[in-house]
Symmetry: C2
Subunit: 197 residues, 2 copies
């Protein structure tokens, strides 16, 4: 077989996901994944450091997705608008045809605590990086950290909704709805006397 068949990486990913879902993550070996994808183990390891990386590959791309719209925005863009732009860009990274993959991936992660922790670690890294890039733009504390935390929370809740059974709206639409809900929540709280009591 050819050493660098086009689409090998994607095929390995699809096959691994199917095997993880069918027989469990722990129970699935790299040898099985490679055999099912009709490549050698050596080829598998050319694409992924280990079987866990099949589920977490592309973390740098994932982070850049949120960070790049912030670094690209005009200097006077308000922090909350930076977060909104970040979430819009993240929406583009998860198009409709990726949803079945994301749903299966989440099922696998939910079934294995160590994978769940890795996923939370990914989101924690995103919070740290967003906070850094906001501070680099001159957003003061505690606003920078709050904006970063809030942005990741909105992303996480929106993503959970995006993969919920029966949901067919885009991730960007869901995230905008949640940002608007947060705006209403905070605005209503003040009017009724939250901070002025």
């Amino acid at each position: 077989m050819a050493r660098w068949q086009p689409g090998t990486r994607e095929r390995l990913q699809a096959v691994a996901l199917r095997l993880f879902a069918e027989q469990g993550f722990e129970q699935t070996t790299v040898a099985e994944i490679a055999a099912a994808a009709e490549v050698t183990e050596r080829t598998f390891f050319r694409h992924f450091a280990d079987k866990r990386e099949v589920l977490f590959a592309g973390q740098d791309d994932f982070l850049a997705l949120f960070i790049d719209p912030i670094t690209a925005a005009p200097a006077d863009t308000a922090p909350f608008e930076l977060i909104a732009r970040s979430l819009d860009a993240a929406g583009d990274y998860f198009p409709h045809d990726r949803r079945p993959f994301s749903r299966v991936r989440q099922t696998i992660i939910d079934a294995e605590p160590s994978l769940g922790e890795r996923e939370l670690g990914k989101l924690a890294t995103l919070k740290v990086r967003l906070g850094e890039v906001l501070r680099d733009r001159g957003v003061p504390e505690p606003a920078a950290t709050l904006a970063a935390e809030t942005g990741v929370t909105v992303f996480h809740l929106s993503f959970q909704q995006w993969i919920a059974p029966g949901e067919d709206r885009s991730l960007a639409t869901i995230a905008r709805e949640r940002l608007d809900a947060l705006t209403s929540l905070v605005a209503t709280g003040r009017t009724v006397g939250g901070t002025s009591e």
Copy 2:
């Protein structure tokens, strides 16, 4: 020695904390804690299920602290104001003289990943409970979950600041400052054109 000396629980807690800090959580045994507190191991286990519970005892009280002000509030209280009341009450639970304990406890938790996960689990439970109690009051989704997540995020960030070196403001003051920062963040984002673009 007396079986139910007053203050035994508090003495066990103080002694355990000192030993965990001095020699590490994993390296410290219940036998050592009991000996240093001049009680039997049996007495230790009458107060705590295991050594980890010395650090996590009182979780029900901790949850009630956030929940009770919400269930006690008038029916028309805005959700964000409910969160503010919750944070005020939490502030009372962490008075100034508890800060040295909280600082040492955090150092111990930060040094041991399994304790860090337990601590995150505690905050995750708080998010779930807050969301439930808000929905019970008729707060719709996604506002209820957003309010719960935001409240716990503000609490967590405020608590981290409260135990930071040199910090001497009250937890309630720090939490209010962060709620106000969140309000400004969201309000400014809208003005500059966040959701109206």
